[in-house]
Symmetry: C2
Subunit: 266 residues, 2 copies
Amino acid sequence: MLLIKVGGGKDINWDGVCRDIAELWLSEPVILVHGASVLRDELAARLSIPVRKVISPSGVTSVYTDREAIEVFLMAYAGLANKRIVALLLSQGVKAVGLCGVDGKLWEAKAKKEILVRESGKTKLLKDNLTGRVERVNAELLRLLLEHRYLPVVCAPAVSFDNEIVNTDNDTAAAVMAGEMGVRKMVYLFEAPGLLRDPDDQGSVIRRIGKYEIEAFLPFARERMKKKILGVKRAVEAGVEAVFFGDGRTQNPVKNALAGQGTVIG
Amino acid sequence: MLLIKVGGGKDINWDGVCRDIAELWLSEPVILVHGASVLRDELAARLSIPVRKVISPSGVTSVYTDREAIEVFLMAYAGLANKRIVALLLSQGVKAVGLCGVDGKLWEAKAKKEILVRESGKTKLLKDNLTGRVERVNAELLRLLLEHRYLPVVCAPAVSFDNEIVNTDNDTAAAVMAGEMGVRKMVYLFEAPGLLRDPDDQGSVIRRIGKYEIEAFLPFARERMKKKILGVKRAVEAGVEAVFFGDGRTQNPVKNALAGQGTVIG
């Protein structure tokens, strides 16, 4: 089983991604997880709802999420992005079904109402944060769909153990899902040719990372990439054998990544 | 099997609807279809995207839908409203799964790119309209979910036979779905105590309409209610035995409707 996670950047070649998936889908089950961060930010700006990005004491960037932010999230991720991708896959002959983490408790998260953040050099406690970390996945629902040849197209938000809609880290969720579903291969697509030794040099792609040296590469990762590396580490710990980082902007983003044209981990 | 269709008004008592559904769900399969017109209109206003309402030569009101309007539709219906309802049902112990008509081609529609409308007393032809009439329903997907005790929470938009996302009339879609699924009872909830003889008199509820006299009651219906009546006619022709119109604003909207407190048709 193949899990493909595509970032929410604006230059992702979604036609190419969906064409590749349609081809792979003929020979193996696929789960697609997608982001929509750029759509979310654009929508928040149009609605004059500020996106408040916060940085944890360990340096990981995330979004502080109040009720309004969750609404924007639902609209951009579960509404606009998810259904557009489903329609693209349908037009490639793949019966796709879009779900967010709330549907059938697909992604159950432990709520983190209070979070520590670094702001202007100080560590602060933020309350009433509607985020959570995915701890449980409804593998039964995913299997049900896959067994009947429906391709699950999955996105945040998740649902807390108290049935509140919560924002969540996609990369952690994907890793937990990979573990529960017995996924062997994962593809991560984003707007870079792979993990870069020097983030300003597109030619400095790190070609290969062994499964026991993932953490050693954290210093090369900036902001959102840090989360991906942590997600990959978790996924590998959960049984994933190979993770392929690839460029989502190319003609054949998934196939290129699987051919090792980006960074191969594992 | 029970199909419940809830309108998109702002005063619908969703807590009550979901509580009622949780109780009924213990003894019979339920499909929930919902609108989100007020959310859609609010969002369109906030995004400064005008909602262009048009009236057909036969007097039925609908929304002219271009690409921007479809985006607002996806955000309000498939994003915000759908997932909020799913979360409410989850908190009532019902494993709900939210789908729009695009997912797995749940609602396949024949596109109507050109529509005739009445505007300032004249009949005009509008082009590039992204709407369609649902003709085919993916009953297999609905059955799959229901058999595994997942309650489908369904909304527009639909998908055209060319895999374009299209706005559609919920009431027609619900009727087609009822026919395909062998639904025997339907509940329609909205912001009125039933079909009114005099729309300005909440006490003038028509209590009973026979299955062969539905059309005779069309003159009592205004705007959106006309569509419901036409939808009901179609549903009854497709095999539905009884349709219950009820007030979505009460404490127990579904149970009250089933108890005949609104208008009973069939």
